[in-house]
Amino acid sequence: MNTQWFLKTEGDALARVRAFLGALWQSASLRGMIVPVFSGGERAPRVELLTDARRLTQADPFAPLMLANGARDLAERGRAGLQGPLGAVLRPCEIRALAEVARRRSVPLESFLLVGVDCLATFAPEVYERRVREVGSPEELTREALLFARQGGILLYRNRPACQRCGAPLPAAVDLCLGLHGLTAGEAILVTARDEPTCRRLRLESITDGGAPPELIAQHERMAAALAARRGRTRARMEADLGGLPANVDELIAHLRACAPCRACLEACPIYDGELEAADAKVVAAWLASCAGCGMCEQACPSHLALPALIDRIRRDLPGLSGPSNSASVETHSCWL
């Protein structure tokens, strides 16, 4: 049986995805869904736990904005033993962080239905606000982002630095992927399931518009490869600009301790769990090695220190690198393409 399906969007990908999430809610008998939504006239969507499927009409999983990495919040809900099953719609970097947090703290994720979306990259919050003002509404900005899905998103330099360097904007290791890159989002988007039992369990055959045409799958794969190459060049350029910033674990520890009063970066990190206090370079190295590349640290840093680039440079030299990597080659995700 096929694991790749598609949705006909008929000019409005956002509306089609909202409807699809509603259908998924039904077919998976969800009790709730964690997804970014517009609530109370706010300009920016926030991640919320919805318990009423009707509120999905305000959901926006594609908004080019990331205020926080949802992994930590989700792991806490998992640990609290929430009454499942719950759906969670996440970006690739959130999924990478979630897997890492779950592994380190033994959080059970079975009660979650994990839905990953192709990330169209995000703006810094102030840029997002300005662009929303320019185009009129946040939903309009999401539509603009979707318009450029076929091109693999807009020009890199307009996005957050972490997104500019992200070589894996396609989700991996989830139950369901919503594929956008390389596709004309106004016509069709891809739905890829983990395996055949998942397809049957979620009744994908009836809630999608059928098996994905091979040319859509090929376009999606080509764009994933192009994005990985494009962003690889950006990573090399960013690394060249790092200059004398900390180049190994000890230097980074010293650097972070020196700007201790703030700690905004540590608080923003979905994975951080007091490693810096341990005064053991190995513990810190393990934390750095597990970096999901979401760049929340850089966004939170008052002086916008290029932490993701720094960490990438440091961990490349670490022995026995393990854990997810935002610079992982496309091949490791090929099962999800």
């Binding site: 603009e144 318009l147 450029f148 076929r150 091109q151 998103g153 807009i154 020009l155 307009r158």
Partner: protein
């Protein structure tokens, strides 16, 4: 077969303009080691015939396929060198220029870092040259019509010449009548001919010419397009209309200097103090002030001219002769009145001017050299206080009529018009010509020309001469019927374009449109002027400007980005000033 760049680098001394500050030999030697460079030479004047021949010879002998000249601004000699390489069958777009004069030797002291900067500029040009692509220049048809902005004597003359040559002309005048400032004059110098005689005939012809459409109480509200094909929006009364023209002549004139900006001269306070334009009106009837004929008349020259403090350092050129003319008129009309002229220098440069000035003095007008410091009231008269700089002593002259020879100032709305037409202004505030000597009626914008006092102070003779020159130059594209369009235009990558239309919304030339079936934008190579605004606006980087592609520009940036300008400390200079030695 893969393309291998064979680059020739030519470093110009520009006499001592570059060579005195930059170590030209070192730059030349350094450039020889750059990737792709086959030959690197220096020469005293690259733009001279032998300099050009040097390049042409190397192209033939060494098989160069890209040429870099490091010399002045491309605005100066890019056309020269493009023509030179074209003459030996190298595409003009395979030529690149490094500006090591305006952007280096003229603005830095002679130092090691200045030479290093020149090297970086040359290196960046070489990096771009390796990536240059030959481009084909195309021709576009022109609209056989012209627009003239301003209905003064300059605008009318230019409009008449173009209309006489057989082209349709639209003349836009802001006020309700034609004639401008000349219409307010009584007589002209040096012939004392009544102005009405010469202006009347021109206005009459302009009003009734079959190919000249005069729009009074009208103004230009928007200008789009390019040379040969301008689209102009005109507000005419309450109506809006659009006209298509091939060339535009700006003849918007000047403002009279506001004498209230010299409060010590009492203009606007004492009724006895008037300006030269006001005397023109006065002299058309009885010359009376406060109800009686004045017995002592004083002229004060250079009011609002040659005055650094007021920001008018330039000479207004006409006031000396206006004063001489008016002083003569006073002597004729009021033979008993004493006439004194306070002057800084008398500039009687035109044909018959010096003779006229001599005749004025022989008619009994007293010229005293000195710039009056103030006017004060004494009884029912005013007193002009000045220092006679020839006698070296202070003088006081009582007067019952003081005439201020006010200068010419740029029009208050010059900025607005400059914005509409994208014209540059010179430091005096008037519109700037493309070259002070060689292109005095052209502007930096192709197809837009200047006539009359909007470009700088002028008398009627010069205004007419410039108007006719502007008309003749403007007719070149109209006569030819086609213009060469810029080959460095934007090009849309259909793979990357999402058809969002942001580029079209900012393109002032209307060059970008949505392809009806493909859903991507298309750039019209004739309308596109290569400004590059679309390339920066495109969210997905789908638009490149030929000759300035991302790759080419990034290659340039990569070369210059490792250059660090030295940090100069202000401390030593201060210490030197402070020290008693």
């Amino acid at each position: 077969m893969t393309f291998t760049p064979r680059i020739g680098v030519y470093v110009c001394h520009c006499g001592i303009n570059i060579a005195a500050t930059v170590d030209v030999g070192a730059v030349t030697q350094w450039a020889a080691g750059l990737p792709g460079v086959v030959v690197s030479r220096d020469y005293t004047y690259m733009c001279s015939d032998p300099g050009q021949a040097l390049i042409q010879n190397d192209i033939r002998e060494l098989g160069l396929n890209r040429v870099v000249v490091a010399s002045c601004s491309p605005r100066m000699h890019e056309p020269t060198f493009r023509a030179a390489v074209s003459a030996v069958d190298l595409n003009p777009y395979c030529f690149e220029m490094a500006n090591i004069r305006e952007q280096c030797s003229w603005v830095h002291p002679a130092a090691e870092t200045t030479t290093q900067k020149a090297m970086h500029l040359v290196g960046s040009a070489v990096a771009k040259a390796a990536l240059l692509q030959p481009l084909e220049q195309r021709q576009a048809p022109t609209t056989p019509a012209a627009l003239v902005i301003g209905g003064g004597i300059a605008g009318m003359q230019a409009a008449l010449d173009i209309a006489d040559a057989g082209f349709e002309v639209t003349l836009v005048e802001r006020t309700s009548s034609l004639g401008g400032h000349v219409g307010l004059l009584h007589r002209t110098f040096p012939t004392l001919e009544p102005t009405a005689d010469l202006l009347g005939a021109i206005v009459e012809r302009a009003t009734h010419h079959e190919r000249l459409r005069v729009l009074t109480e009208a103004e230009v509200t928007a200008v789009g397009g390019f040379v040969g094909n301008f689209d102009v929006d005109i507000r005419h009364g309450h109506e809006e209309e659009k006209v298509k023209v091939g060339a535009i002549i700006v003849a918007s004139g000047f403002d009279v200097f506001d004498a209230r900006r010299r409060p010590e001269l009492g203009y606007g306070v004492y009724p006895e103090v008037i300006t030269t334009p006001e005397f023109e009106q006065l002299s058309q009837s009885e010359v009376k002030i406060n109800g009686r004929e004045p017995k002592n008349v004083v002229f004060i020259q250079c009011v609002g001219s040659r005055d650094q403090a007021l920001g008018h350092p330039y000479c207004s050129r006409v006031c000396c002769m206006v004063t001489a003319k008016q002083a003569r008129l006073v002597r004729e009309r009021l033979p008993n009145a004493r006439v004194t002229v306070f002057y800084m220098d008398v500039r009687a440069f035109g044909k018959g001017f010096e003779e006229f000035y001599d005749a004025t003095r022989q008619a009994g007008v007293l010229y005293r050299r000195g710039n009056p410091s103030e006017l004060i009231r004494r009884g029912d008269r005013v007193v002009v206080r000045a220092e006679d700089t020839l006698l070296g002593e202070p003088v006081e002259v009582e007067a019952d009529l003081v005439i201020l020879a006010v200068g010419m100032a740029p029009r208050a709305d010059t900025d607005a018009l400059a914005g509409l037409l994208k014209l540059a202004r010179s430091s005096d505030g008037f519109f700037m010509e493309a070259h002070p000597k060689l292109r005095p009626v052209d502007t930096a914008m192709a197809g837009i020309f200047l006539a009359g006092a909007c470009q700088g102070p002028k008398d009627i003779t010069e205004t007419i001469a410039q108007a006719r020159a502007a008309a003749a130059t403007a007719m070149i594209p109209l006569m030819r019927g086609e213009v060469t369009v810029e080959a460095a235009t934007s090009v849309v990558d259909e793979e990357l374009c999402a058809g969002c239309g942001q580029c079209a919304s900012i393109c002032t030339f209307g060059a970008l449109t949505l392809h009806p079936t493909k859903g991507v934008m298309v750039s019209n190579a004739v309308l596109c002027q290569g400004c590059g605004a679309c390339a920066t606006a495109c969210p997905s980087g789908a638009i490149n400007v030929r000759h300035f592609t991302f790759d080419q520009v990034m290659a340039q940036i990569n070369v210059v980005s490792d250059f660090r300008a030295p940090v100069f400390s202000a401390a030593p200079a201060e210490a030197e000033v402070a020290s008693p030695s």
